[in-house]
């Protein structure tokens, strides 16, 4: 098999254009038909001294996570890149500036850190940029060109992407950046190739459906659009901001509305208001914003107002680590409101899942009249993957409301009528004769305040029971098992972005002869007890890897099922390392489940 599998890491200081370079690169290779997975790491400051890394894995078949070792590492800032020199494999390439402008102390130049097995490629990046463009700004494009030239990628798709990316800034800027790319390309092509990272000959595969390059957040936006989101309210917060930014462009084009409110409190309030008025409504935030929204989420739960909240998690608690990924808002998403705050929480595991979950979230919100939290994290929001969109069009139901029955003459509309499935037909302003009041106070079927024990019990039960149907929501897999079927030594149970790493680790373990399988859990509330319980029955040991300290999901599983699991809870400020999971699989495949339980 002549499959391409190349991982490129570009590392620089904030302001070096590191992320922009990664963006052009991924779009260019995707346009050439490759599958890409990509994740950028960047600091909270715009400029200054923070480290940015853009990592891309480019493959012929879609991969599930980044590799531990890159094939090519590019340094736009040696002080940041030097600690990463070790991540390049033997015979891989390390590309760096050969003529820095200021003197460096001994040991501060990249060339001093290239390991013996790696191939150094020093070249005058800044000088080429200045020669080709008259300034040093285009260093990142020079470097991109160099990569393309060295690895044998055709420049045409790059030039097209560059043109597209800089078109807004005028033809001069486009030309300048293209010249920078070309200068780097010539230098890369002219360099004697000594490393062995190369793109093999590759036919763009004829794919069913449309293959596009999306970040997790962009996929969310695509899902919102395909589900015909009508109103959006938001407040900037990393790493969810790009959802609003994209929607700000996309919604008006479709006659829909977006408003940037003064804070998350207001954003959530407006979302509930629009939901009440019958429009598909959403907001997006991260942990700190979720905390501000907690009060208003409770209102949505008690008023049974459909609304969708995208929560992209970052390192917490409090302001925490705004530009570092973590899966530690699970508890806040599940429970983070006063009272029994029932809600649906779903968590996609890859970019394609972001698209599906986003669209399905609106269906569920309407179908079950509840806030739906779609739990992403920074790693998923910001990573890019190639996604195939079905040729048959969006797979979403555009009106999932329970049909409103025509009222008998003299009948009073019961907004919270107790029904078999717990869902009461919902009227919205404009529906004739169904005028009602929603309130944050506990209420009766009519929506009037009522704090009797019976009513509170009945309403609590209603709000709880109606959600159980979501576990059977049509065309939506709440869990899915991969790997070996039947009895296995080790079963991995995982949620969210970490599942990619789990799958990668599972494949590696299988290659080592370990019988194992992995289950992704997409729906976290209500809890898919049956499916998970059945999976655990098959496993000698169950491993739960997640990126938080307390093992929030493991706790949930143990709490619900009262069965032992092995926790792999780490907070590395980055995605869970594959080899860590693999190590645990290896360890567990040697011992029995009962040994662990004791």
């Amino acid at each position: 098999m002549n499959a391409t599998d190349i991982q490129i890491a570009i590392c620089g200081s904030a302001g070096d254009g590191t992320i922009a370079a990664g963006d052009i690169l991924r779009n260019a290779v995707a346009a050439a038909g490759y599958r890409v997975i990509c994740f950028d790491v960047y600091p909270p400051e715009i400029r200054g001294f923070g480290k940015c890394i853009s990592r891309l894995r480019i493959t012929t078949e879609q991969s599930y996570s980044l590799k531990r070792q890159s094939d090519v590492l590019v340094s736009l800032d040696d002080s940041h890149t030097i600690p990463h020199a070790g991540e390049v494999r033997d015979n891989g390439a390390v590309i760096f500036e050969s003529q820095p402008i200021s003197p460096c102390a001994e040991g501060e130049h990249m060339s001093g850190h290239v390991l013996p097995g790696q191939i150094p490629y020093g070249f005058p990046i800044r000088e080429l940029a200045q020669k080709a463009t008259g300034g040093a700004r285009s260093r990142n494009l020079v470097v991109l060109g160099f990569i393309a030239g060295l690895l044998g990628l055709a420049p045409a798709s790059f030039q097209k992407i560059i043109e597209k990316k800089f078109a807004k800034q005028g033809p001069k800027v486009v030309a300048r950046n293209q010249a920078g790319f070309q200068a780097g390309f010539d230098a890369g092509k002219g360099s004697f190739k000594l490393d062995d990272a190369a793109f093999g000959p590759f036919e763009k595969p004829a794919s069913a459906g449309k293959v596009i390059m999306l970040s997790g957040n962009a996929a969310v936006v695509q899902g919102c659009i395909d589900a015909e989101l009508a109103t959006f309210f938001g407040y900037p917060i990393t790493p969810a901001t790009t959802i609003m930014e994209r929607l700000a462009t996309e919604l008006p084009k479709r006659g829909h509305r977006l408003l940037q409110t003064e804070d998350e409190i207001s954003a959530m309030a407006a979302t509930v208001g629009a939901g009440f008025a019958g429009a598909r409504a959403a907001t997006a935030t991260s942990g700190p914003g979720l905390a501000l929204m907690a009060e208003m989420l409770g209102l949505a739960t008690i008023t049974e107002t459909p609304c969708v909240i995208f929560v992209s998690q970052r390192g917490g608690p409090s302001t925490g680590m705004p530009t570092k990924t973590e899966q530690s808002d699970l508890n806040a998403a599940l429970y983070g409101s006063p009272g029994d705050a029932q809600r649906i929480v779903i968590a996609p595991t890859n970019v394609e899942g972001c698209y599906r979950c986003a669209g399905k979230a609106f269906e569920m919100a309407e179908r079950y009249q509840t806030p739906v939290i779609v739990l992403l994290d920074l790693y998923l929001s910001n990573r890019y993957e190639t996604v195939t969109l079905a040729a048959s069009g969006p797979p979403f139901v555009l009106d999932a409301n329970k049909p409103l029955r025509r009222l008998e003459p003299g009948e009073v509309y019961k907004r919270y009528a107790l029904t078999a499935d717990g869902v009461s037909p919902r009227a919205v302003p404009g529906d004739a004769g169904c005028m009602h009041v929603i309130t944050g106070l506990e209420h009766n079927e009519l929506g009037r305040p009522n704090d009797s024990a019976e009513m509170h019990t009945a309403m609590s039960r209603k709000r709880h029971d109606k959600l159980q149907a979501a576990l059977e929501h049509p065309d939506f897999a709440v869990t899915k098992r991969f790997g070996n079927t039947g009895r296995v030594k080790v079963g991995i149970l995982a949620w969210g972005s970490t599942f990619g790493e789990c799958l990668e680790a599972m494949f590696m373990a299988q290659a080592e002869g370990i019988v194992c399988s992995a289950m992704k859990v997409v729906m976290l509330s209500p809890f898919p007890t049956k499916a998970i319980s059945a999976f655990m029955d098959d496993c000698d040991a169950v491993l739960v890897p997640e990126v938080n300290y307390e093992g929030q999901f493991a706790q949930l599983v143990q709490g619900v099922l009262a069965r032992p699991v092995v926790r792999l809870s780490r907070v590395p400020s980055s995605p869970m390392p594959v080899e860590l999971i693999l190590g645990e699989i290896r360890r567990l495949s040697g011992v029995t489940a009962s040994a662990i339980a004791s």
Binding site: Q99, S102, S111, G117, P120, G122, F192, L194
Partner: protein, 353 residues
């Protein structure tokens, strides 16, 4: 910023400029003799040390550079020998004991070994045609030359030192045509009498090399790109006449690579001048290999010594003396041009393990 290492505190720092036979031999011995020291090899090359004497094999079939590596990467890891590749040395600050790299980084040293070797010499009157020549000095250059040479193609060799003649043997073996334009440097570094030279030239002809008497033709005046439909290069002679080839390669002997040492106060004539302990006029700087001119008591002159054995011996002597020993370099190398069984010339400079 002051990176100059101090021998008073901490391990000694040895810096070797050059990644060839001499430098690597020295590094190995330095590690043996001073296990705690820090050893750094600086090289312009992007590759680890590889065997340049084997490069003619490239013309027998494709081989990646891996095949030429003298040591695997782990060798350097295990011996804690730092190899800084893709680094160009621009000067040496002998007062502060720092090597300055082109990217503006200083590398401090306690003892420095210059083992940069030589580059193929190009007479000044051919400087204008510099870009039209093909070379053989590095893996990259050799591969580029091989790619430019079609099957059964024609190679014009100018000069014809022993490095070139070694390549010529291989080229003949793969059915290439070799035209040699003779020059006083033909057979360099052998020193031949007029008789010996005539004899050796005859042997070359017998091997199948076509000879052009460069002296009689007044020497090469220029090399030009060939006209369309003709081979890629045209060589023009001073007394008139020309000839064509697919590649033209200068083999006029070697020029020591010492530019970065100019201005350091270290004695240079053509190469770095050293005594028989291979120490230069600067007590912390040694030199070994094709870059140094060694004082010969016998000849009462500074002279060069070539050949794998000599160069390796120099690396060893330098390393021993840099670590407190007192060894003198003495050549064991046969320097006369010999003959093999078929009467073909055979040079001790071709000898290689």
């Amino acid at each position: 910023m002051n990176a100059s290492a101090s021998s008073a505190q901490g391990p000694r720092r040895y810096v070797i400029i050059g990644n060839g036979v001499a430098g690597n031999q020295a590094a190995e011995l330095l590690r043996e003799r001073d296990p705690d020291s820090r050893i750094t090899i600086l090289t312009n090359s992007r590759l680890l040390f590889y065997n340049r004497y084997l490069l003619p094999q490239l013309f027998k079939g494709h081989q990646s550079w891996h095949a030429f590596l003298a040591n695997p990467p782990e060798y350097y890891v295990q011996r804690r020998i730092e190899v800084r590749r893709d680094c160009r040395v621009v000067s040496v600050d002998t007062r502060n004991k720092q090597v300055k790299l082109a990217h503006n980084e200083p590398i401090g040293y306690d003892a420095l070994l210059v083992a940069t070797g030589g580059r193929s010499h190009l007479p000044e009157d051919l400087a204008d045609c510099r870009s039209l020549f093909h070379h053989f000095g590095t893996y990259e250059a050799a591969v580029t030359t091989r790619k430019a040479l079609p099957d059964n193609g024609t190679v014009v060799m100018l000069g014809g030192d022993m490095i070139g003649l070694d390549l010529a043997r291989t080229l003949l073996a793969v059915s290439c045509r070799v035209i040699l334009v003779t020059h006083e440097t033909t057979f360099w570094p052998h020193k031949l009498t007029a008789e010996e030279r005539a004899d050796a030239l005859a042997a070359l002809e017998k091997m199948g090399i076509e000879l052009i008497d460069g002296d009689a033709r007044g020497g090469v005046t220029s090399v030009e790109a060939g006209a369309p439909g003709l081979p890629a290069r045209r060589v023009v002679f001073r007394q008139g006449g020309d000839l064509y080839g697919d590649v033209v390669m200068p083999f006029y002997g070697l020029t020591p690579l010492v530019e970065f040492m100019v201005g350091t106060g270290t004695d240079i004539e053509r190469g770095l001048l050293v005594n028989t302990t291979l120490r230069t006029s600067d007590p912390s700087i040694y030199a070994a290999g094709d870059v140094c001119q060694i004082w010969s008591e016998q000849d009462h002159a500074y002279r060069f010594y070539y050949g794998y054995k000599n160069v390796r011996a120099m690396g060893a002597v330098a390393a021993i003396n840099m670590t407190g020993g007192h060894e003198h370099f003495a050549t064991t190398q046969e320097e006369t041009l010999g003959r093999d069984g078929q009467g073909h010339i055979d040079s001790p400079f071709w000898a290689c393990e």
